[in-house]
């Protein structure tokens, strides 16, 4: 069993009731593990939601977590996998200040390179939407930083599907 900590995804199908997220996150917190990202959304079935957690931990710990979470009566099923074994996508919205000459053009080039999209263009700001794997989104943000000043940023955290 791999004792290496790496980004792992916990996906659970849960009943859409108050307190489920609290119970599950308290199981994770109790073991001193930080949750790097969460996304919760409804599914095609009424009353059922899907929660996706990104955590950085080793295989033995994630197995223990999965079994503990499985016991929660409002959790219908739970699975985990290293992030690298999954199709995972993340959405980010990035608002950038453009004040100096050349910045706007450089950003347009970068947006094209990453298949991103400009969703709002104002006199002094650009708002960009980028979708990609968590690594791609991070790479995009790093390159934006080199060009101009980011004034606001919102990342969705990854959602995932098995390959």
């Amino acid at each position: 069993m791999s004792q290496k900590a790496e980004p792992r995804i916990l996906v659970m199908i849960v009943e859409d009731k108050p307190g489920v997220l609290y119970k599950v996150s308290s199981i994770i917190r109790r073991r001193g593990i930080n949750i790097d990202a969460i996304s919760v959304a409804t599914t095609t079935e009424p009353g059922i939601s899907k929660m996706t957690f990104l955590v950085n931990t080793d295989e033995a710990t994630i197995e223990q977590l999965t079994r503990q979470i499985e016991k929660v009566p409002t959790v219908i099923s739970v699975g985990s996998s290293p992030l690298r074994n999954l199709y995972s996508k993340e959405l980010a919205l990035v608002k950038v200040n453009v004040s100096k000459p050349g910045e706007r053009e450089a950003l347009h080039t970068l947006v094209a390179k990453f298949n991103a999209r400009i969703i709002e263009e104002k006199a002094f700001t650009l708002t960009i939407e980028v979708v990609g794997s968590p690594e791609e989104v991070s790479a995009f943000i790093n390159e934006v930083k080199v060009i101009a000043e980011i004034v606001d940023l919102s990342r969705s955290g990854p959602i995932a599907l098995s390959r």
Binding site: P18, G19, K23, R30, Q64, R67, V72, P73, T74, I76
Partner: protein
């Protein structure tokens, strides 16, 4: 027909077969109490909510049926917390009902409002907050199912006071309010049982470790059959005491920090360990990595999350203990087991080596002589022993012979001081025909003694034997052994006078001066219609041995006091 939420609660409790409730009323549960007025459910008024939770727990452990307690909102609910955490750690089916402020007041810091769901989520198997009277039947059905099936545990139901008053058309149902909980035990993988049978039949030195799961699944008969079939000695965890008659020749008693030294050595020397219904608690195993190091380990447990949590095992079998043992016995009948003569001789050798020197003079009022006297006076199957926590608990575990399941009740996992006495009251309510004895310490008893009032006014006679060393004895022992005898904050100075204290409550109090006087006092207490507190003065220099120091392995057990 319209009925109130409170009435729906009482009817739901009746549908679950609840005959007795332990509780303390308050503003946010008054509608519920008003509905109880018209019901034949017995209500036992406690004096502290921690105690009503322990009483419900003691009731559950003695009877195997869920124990029910009630507290009001805010401080009533928060006082339950220690009791619920105790039940959670020892997998005991307790259903706690708490009042809550009215729905429109929740979150406004109302008088006696506490976020009890937020507080108890990590220490309950599950908890509910009811938002409409219509939900009551479904929630109660689900709560009792969750508390008492699979691995049992406490469940809390929080009920806003206006929901109790709400009039509604209420339909009673057996439908469950959960999609993610299967009350049926997990399906046993028969191939794994076959493999276990094969390994056990071939074992030279098999050993069975029996835990509390054997008792809660009612598998004690199967356990004994299997042990005799295999000629395998049996050791237990603290929670497993009573899963096998402790006077049976194959039973070696408890292992662990204060386990029998020869039982610990049996773990060290066995080649196959079959652990059933135990979670490998650190107090049971000593250092995890060293535990039964050379042995092939088979772990039977109903809770998948216990597999490989503390000790890595070779063959996990997830399932109900009784079912797995039955299947295992069936498989073993097809196989011929090896002779265990050499192993049983070795066990005999270990037993006599460690028992020599431990035999002491049995006339003075010493912890061991007091408890051995109880072994003589208490009839198997007709008595229950509960304990406090600390030295009194470990002496009881070492010397008391639990000869029937559910006859030894103790706070194992959480180690809650003050548990013994209220748990004894709960056990006595569950089993009024049995003699119930709480072996306690002075420090431990003092934490919940106010419920002597409950015992007297509600007519629940138990016997409290205080092993009184005028100190927090186990803390003193640790300071003695590990903190260079720098004794601090352990001296209780013989206060209060427990005989007078008992008398102040209208109970009996005696202080015997010799073993003969103790025997006489116990015999009288067994016939007495009120609770008797027997204050036995022992020396603060008495320490619990054997002992495996914290963090050490079982083979490092100190059989007796180290020479200093």
């Amino acid at each position: 027909m319209l009925i109130s939420g409170a009435e729906a609660i009482v009817r739901s409790l009746k549908r679950e077969g609840v005959k007795v409730i332990f509780g303390i009323p308050g503003g946010a549960v008054l509608p519920l109490y008003d509905a109880l007025y018209d019901s034949d459910i017995r209500h036992i008024l406690g004096r502290h909510e921690q105690c009503v939770a322990h009483m419900a727990d003691g009731y559950a452990r003695a009877s195997g049926k869920p124990g029910v307690c009630i507290a009001t909102s805010g401080p009533g609910a928060t006082n339950l917390v220690t009791g619920l955490a105790t039940a959670y750690m020892d997998s005991s089916p307790v259903v706690a009902l708490t009042g809550q402020v009215a729905r429109h007041m929740i979150g406004r810091d109302a008088f006696q409002e506490a976020d009890i769901i937020g507080i108890v989520t990590p220490i309950t198997k599950y908890c509910f907050q009811i938002t409409s009277a219509k939900e009551i039947p479904k929630v109660f059905k689900t709560a009792f199912i969750i508390a008492s099936t699979r691995r049992p545990g406490p469940v809390l139901i929080d009920i806003p006071v206006d929901v109790q008053r709400e009039q509604a058309e209420i339909v009673f149902t057996d439908e469950l309010d959960t999609k993610g909980y299967d009350p049926n035990p997990p399906r046993v993988d028969i191939d794994k049982v076959k493999k276990a049978a094969e390994v056990l039949a071939e074992a030279e030195r098999p050993l069975i470790l029996s835990g509390g799961g054997v008792i809660s699944s009612g598998a004690h008969v199967e356990l004994l059959t299997l042990a005799e079939m295999l000629s395998a000695p049996v050791v237990t965890s603290l929670m497993g005491k009573g899963s096998i008659p402790e006077d049976h020749p194959l039973c070696l008693g408890m292992i662990g920090m204060h386990g029998k030294a020869y039982a610990n050595y049996a773990v060290v020397e066995c080649d196959v360990l079959l652990a059933i219904g135990t979670r490998f608690a650190d107090r049971t195993t000593g250092k995890f990595d060293e535990f039964a190091k050379g042995a092939y380990k088979i772990h039977v447990d109903i809770d998948l999350a216990e597999i490989n949590k503390n000790v890595r095992v070779d063959l996990p079998i997830v399932g109900d203990a009784k079912e797995v043992l039955r299947l295992l016995i069936k498989e073993l009948k097809k196989r011929k087991s090896k002779s265990r003569d050499a192993w049983l001789n070795r066990i005999k050798e270990l037993r006599s080596a460690f028992e020599q020197g431990v035999e002491e003079q049995q006339t003075a009022l010493k912890p061991s002589s007091v408890i051995k006297l109880l072994n003589k006076l208490l009839e198997p199957g007709k008595s229950i022993v509960t304990t406090g926590v600390g030295q009194n608990q470990m002496w009881s575990a070492l010397h008391y012979l639990a000869r029937a399941p559910r006859s030894f009740i103790t706070s194992g996992g959480l180690g809650t001081m003050g548990f013994g006495f209220p748990a004894a009251l709960g056990a006595k309510v569950a089993c009024p025909d049995k003699v119930v004895v709480d072996i306690d310490g002075d420090g431990s008893f003092l934490m919940t003694e106010q419920d002597l009032a409950t015992s007297v006014t509600e007519g629940i006679p138990v016997i409290v034997v205080i092993l009184n060393n005028s100190s927090l004895g186990m803390v003193r022992q640790w300071q003695h052994l590990m903190y260079k005898r720098r004794f601090i904050a352990i001296d209780l100075r013989g206060v209060p006078d427990f005989v007078k204290l008992a008398q102040a409550y209208g109970a009996e109090g005696v202080r015997p001066g010799s073993l003969e006087e103790l025997e006489k006092a116990l015999k009288e207490a067994m016939k007495c219609e009120v609770t008797t507190v027997i204050d036995v003065n022992i020396s603060p220099e008495e320490r619990v041995f054997p002992m495996v120091l914290p963090g050490r392995a079982l083979h490092e057990v100190l059989a007796s006091e180290p020479k200093s």
